[in-house]
Amino acid sequence: MKNINYCVIEGKSAGFYGGIAVSVFFILLGLFAAYNMEHHGHVITGMNNQIVWGMPHVFAIFLILSASGVLNVASISSVFRKIFYHPLARLSALLAITLLIGGLSVLVLDLGHPDRLVVAMTSYNLKSIFSWNMFLYNGFLLICVIYLWFMMERRMQRYYPTVGLIAFIWRLILTTGTGSIFGFLVAREAYHTAIMAPLFIALSLSLGLAVFLIVLIIDCWEKQCPLGQGILHRPKTLLGVFIGAVFYFVLAYHSSHLYFTGRHGVEYFILAGGGIYTVLFWGGYIFLGTILPLLLLYHERFSKSCASIAAASVLTIVGGFALLYVIIIGGQAYPLEIFPGMEVTSSSFFDKGIHAYTPSGWEILLGISGIAIAALLTVLALRILPFMPCSLADIDIEPQFKD
């Protein structure tokens, strides 16, 4: 194993304390929102008996997907033996842990009974994909901790590739599980398809790498450590490939639905007549989240600059978030087809027409607190243990870690 010097962040800058203060502020706001949702009930949210999963779920799934995707940087290093990525592997595994904790916190705090978490951890229905996910998420956290330990402990480094392989396979299963939460829902036309699993895997790869690049840029900016163009160039190219992969699965998803006559209704709703969902799909996901970042990453005029890579990463996140909103909320907004071949003329339970949903401030605060939890844990971890190379300048990295 080649020598790389890892450092903790100094923790004396305004950026460090500012970051902690902002994170704590949003965590407190999120906890206040969760307390109100618990005290008054979900009546204070925009969710109802039609849209049963709302904004907190979009945030939670965004964070969970990012968590599994961000580990990809470490996997490339240990599984695919691209040594170039090795210096970044520790940060990758750390972010996988913190993002997952952030996402799961939001999911738990949104429950009707978060106080019954112990029930959820002790009473399992093994036919439920949710139950599988509890094992998968907890197992993922454990594997990432062991992975980090083996990376950081010299004596254990010979086992490091094996753990890396286990972590890689585990994260693929985990994201398959997350996608299958929707893919297994036979009742809803927008969800019932096996492509949800690979679509979520591709989305996790693009979101994870985008989050990773942003954290890397922020961290280097905060530490004022040199960040070479070389260290950004390869992940940048990979980000473009992942964005393309997500687009491929989205294309396959919609084209197969358009082929099924029975699903024309829901496709028309999402792609043409769905109001906010249509706008988010075309404007948010396709334009902001796919076309623009690909331009920034591949067009000669932009592709060399660090700012354009940062912008492309932010846009990838915006687009991925928009896509998740369309999938999760849009899929519920389209009414269930309980009576095939018939149209509902009257119902007291909103069986007729598109279901309305406006996220409340409480939901958004709870969701943001998940990001804040991940950010706070990351900053504290970076302060306590050396997860980051002291320098990521081309001169320090390239000669040692050229493939």
Binding site: G41, N49, L111, G112, H113, F349, D351, A356
Partner: protein
């Protein structure tokens, strides 16, 4: 002034007292025996029966919602909340055939599937199916994740968004949990009909027939052999306990 107490009177009093004491001792036992027989949910539920319902859409009147109001009264679904978060265990739905234009009016409730998706997806096992086919929610271990609501093809479940008051002791409900039609399990265990069925019969429509689908001699089994009936979303092959005639 000594009063003479005759041996006959004394014996009569003794017998009277004995009878009263004996009666007071035995009566609660007899009553409890009756109650314990009624509530065989405590252990006597078997798969020898499967409770089901046949709804005759040709008899269901468009303007009538007696089944809905009977359910609300029976289970205390009377909270005054926003319509989009109000719990509805049974609802009246009007539908029109897109090809023929024929219109139907029917009650829609939990279909008590043989293979209920809500039970499959529930992470804690709070959604469960009794041996006699009634699908219920254990309010003590429901964590309020609402995955069952995402999975139900009939939109039969409601989430309780606010604190509830005036609950019925036989029909526990609670904020932060999911609920749906219990097929009036407290009445069925007491050899009574569900409240909606009783109300429908009371107004004379007799559009809802309740009974044991496994008993070949039950009214519902005989009727199902006679008439053409269908399940909602038969393509999903969930084998619901509720079937519709004339749809």
């Amino acid at each position: 002034m000594n009063e003479e107490i005759s041996p006959t009177q004394n014996r009569r009093d003794f017998l009277k007292t004995t009878a009263v004491v004996a009666g007071m001792t035995v009566a609660p036992g007899v009553l409890l025996y009756g109650v314990s027989r009624a509530h065989h949910a405590d252990g006597a539920v078997t798969s020898d029966v499967r409770w089901g319902m046949l709804i005759d859409t040709t008899k269901c009147s468009e303007g009538c919602d007696k089944c809905v109001s009977a359910c609300a009264t029976e289970h205390g679904l009377t909270e005054d909340v926003r319509p989009d978060i109000a719990a509805q265990w049974i609802r009246k739905v009007g539908v029109r055939d897109k090809q023929t234009g024929k219109e139907y009016s029917l009650p829609l409730l939990c279909q008590h599937c043989e293979h209920p998706p809500c039970v499959d997806v529930c992470p804690t096992g709070a959604s469960f199916k009794r041996a006699d086919g009634i699908v219920l929610v254990d309010k003590h271990i429901c964590i309020g994740c609402r995955y069952c609501m995402m999975a139900c093809p009939y939109k039969a479940r409601s989430f309780i968004h606010e604190t509830l008051e005036n609950q019925k002791p036989y029909s526990p409900r609670g904020k932060g949990t999911v609920e749906s039609c219990t097929l009036c399990v407290h009445r069925v265990d007491n050899e009574q009909q569900p409240a909606c069925v009783e109300a429908c019969n009371k107004v004379g429509h007799k559009a809802m027939l309740f009974g044991d689908l496994k008993d070949p001699n039950s009214d519902i089994s005989k009727k199902l052999k006679e008439v053409r009936s269908t399940a909602l979303r038969p393509d999903l092959r969930l084998n619901p306990g509720v079937r519709y005639q004339g749809l």
